[in-house]
């Protein structure tokens, strides 16, 4: 399964699909992969993105204006897969669009498209029984969010249900860039390592090479979302190039860290 983190730290890039349009999203994704992203989270826009801050909220609204749908995102995933054999592809969506399509149908189409896994933002592991069965049937990796406020017992449940990697959320809050990484982040990853051998990716609020490097010291992968989405927002007409430059800046850190480790 291409959900492998080749470098340390690996880079997970999130994009809101359909902002400004699907064709541009495809270019953005391929540019990110070329610049060193190991895993791409294809964000499905939703009308009520309760876990997202203003940047992703705005991107979702724009994407929804021209009717971007889960079906279209899965088609996009298939197109990306044709150009990128070893990149991990995760569908990042709220639950309702998936339920509307049907869990079985979603998994079937995702598997056929070459998708590796999914992260359903508002599906807690406690309610995930049916989802986990469907994902396993189609050999898709369910990725779950672990929060700093989750007690150890819950982290254990999350770890048991997860495949591929565990997504640690760096702080209480919604997606969005922050100046300082909270203390919560390091502690959470430490607690996760006690209950899982899966790689741990850390996300929410990371936007600079410095933060990327800092997280890279204790996590296996770094997730960058809002910073990429905002780069897209701010570079109309040259989105893919801008994202490529941005991702390259971040992944340069991994090369340095790998070199230093030798």
């Amino acid at each position: 399964m291409p959900l492998t983190f080749y470098k340390k730290p690996a880079m997970v890039a999130y994009v809101t699909c359909g902002d400004p349009d699907l064709a541009t999203t495809r270019e953005i994704v391929l540019a990110a992969i070329e610049a060193g992203a190991d895993v791409i989270e294809l964000g499905v826009p939703f009308s009520d993105p309760v876990a997202d801050g203003p940047v992703i909220q705005r991107a979702s609204e724009r994407a929804l204006k021209h009717g971007t749908s889960l079906g279209q995102v899965l088609t996009l995933a298939a197109e990306v897969r044709q150009h990128a054999q070893s990149t991990g592809l995760i569908i990042f969506s709220y639950l309702n669009p998936i339920l509307r399509m049907g869990l079985g149908k979603f998994c079937k189409v995702a598997r056929a498209a070459g998708v590796d896994g999914a992260l359903v933002t508002d599906l807690p592991v406690e309610e995930a029984g049916e989802y986990l069965r469907a994902m396993r049937e189609y050999d898709l990796a369910p990725v779950f969010l672990a929060a700093p406020t989750s007690p150890d017992e819950r982290l254990r449940r999350i770890a048991e249900a997860s495949r591929g990697f565990v997504y640690a959320v760096s702080r209480t809050g919604v997606t969005g860039q922050r100046q300082q990484l909270a203390e919560d982040a390091r502690k959470l990853v430490k607690r996760l390592r006690r209950v899982t051998k899966l790689p741990v990716a850390l996300g929410f609020g990371i936007s600079t090479a410095e933060q990327f490097a800092e997280v890279g010291e204790f996590a296996d992968a770094v997730v960058v979302g809002s910073a990429i989405v905002e780069t897209v927002e701010r570079n109309r007409g040259r989105e893919a190039a801008a994202v490529g430059e941005f991702v390259r800046k971040l992944t340069a850190v991994s090369s340095e860290l790998s070199a230093a480790a030798r």
């Binding site: 801050g53 889960l70 339920l99 509307r100």
Partner: protein
């Protein structure tokens, strides 16, 4: 999840605690003004020529609506959990006002999220919240109404979860809210049942209540659920038409889905995006419905019908001029259904209508829509 589990544990503890119940009952009685009267609407009954109509007067409760039953209950839980900051969402503003009220009573910091469209149409309540010391934050995203206020409240909660309690105003959201909020409103039906038996020596043939999230309706329905001969009728916002986006009748056009932590009937499009809704009444303008209502409806125990904007506006005038009671536009939906239904019922039958709130907050809208001054 941790916060929800903490709340569930605290609520379970409180439920078993006699002192908690005694304190809540005391506040409901001496502060909120319970019990509320069950009033025989003689002139309305005569005008409609059918069943005997009784009105459960939640509009007489402190702050002008039923909402405070739940706010007092949750405020006592906040105190037990040692938190000092309370946030809430509000549609029509009644829940916001009730939350601001209990926060002033208990000394908590209070932030209320309200869609800017709702702030415009329910100005009186915005002022009341601020006068009570709450901060009212306008929400500009989405449809700028209730569901958007809930999104923003939830974002605040996940960010500030350690210090803050989210005082959800209806039987929606993740567990334990639908159960807990229903429990806090059960007093409405408990009282009504005792009151009607005392007044008439028998149970009503039907109970009618408006359904936004579903708190006032489940509150009056619950203690009658096992009285199988009592029909439970929930009235949804029929808005201005049947097309998606023109109403908020979840059982007329919705399908099962997940919104804001709840699995229930939701108005949505074919891609699973949540639909915009419309109602002249802010408090009914919501695309999902309390899951317990979904269960009652699917079990055939309760039935749900729409009343249009026009019917609700008309019903407001009828009740005002027949009984001297100005209902909230939300409650007017229940009155509208009563106007349709009572004439077809026998004179020996009784119908109880839950007047969930008073209409002072709606004078702006009423003035725009009715030819009065």
């Amino acid at each position: 999840m941790a916060a929800l589990e903490e709340l569930e544990r605290e609520y379970a503890r409180a439920k078993r605690d006699k002192k908690f119940h005694a304190r809540l009952d005391e506040l409901l009685k001496t502060y909120a003004g319970r019990p509320t009267p069950l009033f025989f609407a003689r002139r309305l009954t005569e005008k409609l020529g059918g069943a005997k109509i009784y009105l459960k007067r939640e509009d007489l409760l402190h702050t002008g609506a039923h909402k405070i039953n739940n706010c007092l209950g949750q405020a006592l839980l906040v105190e037990r959990m040692g938190k000092h900051r309370v946030i809430a969402e509000t549609g029509a503003g009644q829940h916001g006002v009730a939350t601001a009220t209990v926060c002033a009573l208990m000394g908590f910091e209070c932030v209320v999220y309200m869609g800017t469209e709702d702030m415009r149409r329910q100005e009186l309540n915005v002022f009341r919240m601020r006068l009570l010391g709450a901060e009212v934050r306008g929400v500009e995203s989405g449809s700028r109404t209730l569901k958007d206020a809930i999104n923003e409240a939830m974002r605040d909660w996940v960010t500030n979860v350690r210090t803050t309690h989210y005082l959800l105003g209806s039987v929606l959201g993740a567990h334990p809210y639908p159960t807990m909020v229903r429990d806090f409103h059960r007093v409405i039906g408990r009282e009504a049942r005792a009151q009607i038996l005392k007044a008439e020596g028998k149970l009503p043939a039907a109970i009618i209540a408006c359904v936004g999230g579903g708190s006032n309706s489940i509150g009056i329905f619950y203690d009658f659920i096992n009285d199988k001969k009592v029909r439970l009728i929930g009235v949804e916002a029929g808005g201005r038409g049947e097309a998606l986006g023109d109403h908020a009748a979840r059982f007329r056009g919705g399908s099962p889905g997940v919104l804001q932590g709840t699995y229930s009937y939701v108005l949505q499009d074919s891609g699973g995006q949540i639909a915009l809704t419309h109602s002249v009444s802010a408090g009914l303008d919501y695309p999902s419905i309390g899951p317990e209502h979904a269960a009652l409806r699917d079990a055939g125990r309760a039935e749900y019908v729409p009343a249009s904007d026009a019917e609700a506006l008309e019903a407001t005038t009828v009740l005002a001029r027949t009984e001297g009671i100005i209902p909230a536009l939300e409650s007017a939906h229940a009155v509208a259904e009563c106007i349709k239904r009572a004439p077809k019922m026998k004179k020996s039958e009784i119908v109880i209508v839950n007047v969930s709130g008073r209409g002072d907050k709606d004078v702006g809208i009423l003035r725009e829509n009715l030819k009065i001054d």
